[in-house]
Symmetry: C2
Subunit: 407 residues, 2 copies
């Protein structure tokens, strides 16, 4: 199904004993101009520009239990929507989201409409330029725990992480109550550590500070953090709404990369028969909205996503488009022994992202980072991990604890 | 499970062959302080205030296919959250939403935290006061179609609807491209019609104008609409995010009722094993966020919700709480013949809401409204609908077309 310049194309996976043609026709009319067949001729002429259109009905083999299934692609006239997520999501999956076993699995916008979404300001190339790293996957470390720690304690944890050689450090996404270490103070303290690191080693770091609080103050807060020196922002996109990411990314004063966390997204994508597919939500929509780096479950960790879906998320983030490609960061339960698999699946243009796999290293967080650095270097060089571990004691210790995953 | 003053209690329905006790313990620690058992004693003391706690594990009978199920209730310390939806949803269902077959089915906040959410500014009593209607369910009419119509055409449709005796009229929620009849002009025109109606008949009307556009301009836009005379606002809450409703409801300058549309909510609630339950989302959370009137699928119409869920939504909207009760508006495919069932289920403190059941009346929209007025009057008076139809030709015509539903 190729894009059509006059329509937003939405594809749905439908389960049920329905007449799929009738269902598709019902959606095309019901979600645009209401009833069609009963309209008088003069009204039909006027309304034709707003009427939805059935583009494709593809019956699929029934489920194991014999439930019929089909993919329906409906076109919604671009004349019905404004270039924002609330308008598009309400148009294509407003009432329809409540109507039986139906899952929104794809969306395609014509280029003129897609271009009105910001897309990543930095994207892969921009983030690499900021870091000065070109020829390997990036390495990110997650604060294993933030709540309840003082600024001094967090700063110490921060230093341990950057000493391990990571390129990015992110806040814990559940870090809201930060009275003991307010976001703006963390930014000042950690960015000072980043500058010291750069002076000492030439290596740069991005610190993704968690952007929190009322939606009405979020842009102003982001600007204050950027003014204070923030190098990257972390946003829990789904709880805030995609339009919030859109407006942050489109704001010229917020000129740092934005990292999208998938918190709460499973509530939308995890069901096989309802909601919105993960590649659409975490791949396409996050990129349209302007995420430079997107976290999502890898196929391998503690919170896993089926491999095909996880790869499709990454493909959507990086495929040819009017927007810059964004970094996939397959996450959750990542340890050094998984790096070869991640590299095989996601390639150089990806972020290796670890929390427990860094902090849980037997020799501590700095050694944890070093083990990943060695693992990434081995993967890029095509060297088996166990062989590389011979020269890298931190990697050896990591492998002793977590093993090396087999593909 | 009663509320605990130190914890946000979240209840999850979990399906799967897991050790439910282990799962619950894993959530309580993993979603708060990370690992617990490995922490040194001095850190444990410091972190205890932030550690989650297992409150209840209730095993349920397995599904028909023998899949084990349980309800897990986990307490998250209030010391971990700020009083806003993004913080609470990310804390209780951030990463966890992606972790297997798990559905968030209930949330309970201690009173001090709940009180920091605005709740409905008007609620049932306030909306009734604005309308001057006390002793029957309210009647709302939905514009059957808005896109593509001129202001004159819409005004004509508006007049037909209020001539039928409705209390409220709402925009089509998919009305975004309104260049031919901009929101502020609709507000001016329709509110003038409302004033004329009141002068002529003493009857008042609320017009719910669809609030659309970038989230960053929504509050300002709402204020402009209120200044222009808007009597009610309509919001597609889920696509915008619950925090947007929260901020609208909490703003002292936006002093009109807010109507919450459930568009896109099915993407969150419709799956039996994932997402967020409909009573929690459309009942509790919408009310906490400040909706005065909440639309949701009735058990009976074209887009239906299981009866038990639909009743639970209404119960949550009206139960005893620190917040004012909000109006349930069970919707979708409602015709006059359903009014007795709706009245039996939802009682006087509800809104009867119809689109096709008004506009599809054989004698037009005004007669459609009158048929509902007669049906509501009959239901409240305990009179069978077919008997009442003897004195009400519009109701008779409606029953001929749609019949009378049996409970």
């Amino acid at each position: 199904m190729t894009a059509d310049k006059d329509y937003v194309l939405a594809t749905y996976l439908v389960h049920g004993n329905e007449d799929f043609h009738k269902k598709a026709e019902g959606i095309a009319a019901g979600l645009t101009v209401g009833t069609w067949t009963e309209l008088p001729q003069e009204k039909k002429e006027k309304m034709a520009a707003h009427l939805g259109k059935v583009f494709q009905i593809q019956e699929l083999p029934p489920t194991g239990n014999g439930v019929p299934r089909a993919l329906l692609t409906i076109g919604y006239p671009t004349a019905n929507v404004t270039p924002d997520f609330p308008a598009i999501l309400t148009t294509v999956f407003g009432k329809l989201s409540m109507d039986g076993q139906i899952k929104l699995v794809d969306l395609q916008l014509p280029e003129f409409l897609l271009s009105q979404f910001p897309g990543p300001r930095f994207g892969i190339e921009g983030v690499r330029r900021l870091l000065g790293v070109q020829d390997r996957p990036l390495l990110m470390s997650i604060f294993k725990q933030c709540i309840g720690l003082s600024l001094d304690e967090l700063e110490e944890e921060y230093q341990k992480q950057i000493d391990g050689g990571v390129d990015l450090v992110k806040d814990d996404e559940i870090f809201f109550r930060d009275e003991q270490a307010p976001d703006i103070e963390r930014v000042r303290a950690f960015e000072r550590r980043n500058r010291q690191r750069q002076e000492r080693t030439g290596k740069k770091t991005l610190y993704a500070v968690n952007l929190t609080g009322p939606v009405t103050r979020l842009l102003e807060k982001a600007k204050r953090l950027v003014e204070a020196g923030a190098s990257c922002l972390l946003l829990n996109v789904t709880p805030y709404g995609l339009d919030v990411l859109h407006r942050l990314a489109a704001d010229p004063d917020i000129n740092v990369p934005i990292m999208a966390h998938p918190a709460f997204s499973g509530a939308l994508y995890a069901s096989p028969r309802h909601g919105v597919s993960s590649p659409l939500l975490l791949g396409k929509l996050m990129r349209w909205a302007g995420a430079d780096i997107v976290l999502f479950p890898s196929p391998y960790g503690s919170v896993a996503m089926p491999r095909e879906e996880s790869l499709q998320v990454a493909d959507y983030l990086r495929e040819e488009s009017v927007h810059r490609p964004a970094f996939p960061a397959p996450s959750a339960g990542i340890h050094p022994g998984l790096v070869p698999l991640l590299f095989r699946d996601f390639g150089i243009q990806s972020v290796v992202n670890a929390g427990g796999g860094i902090h849980g290293h037997p020799q501590g967080s700095t050694a944890g980072g070093k083990a990943f650095v060695a693992a990434i270097s081995a993967a890029v060089g095509g060297r088996p991990l166990r062989e590389a571990a011979a020269d890298a004691p931190e990697l050896r210790a990591a492998i002793e604890k977590w093993g090396v995953a087999e593909g």
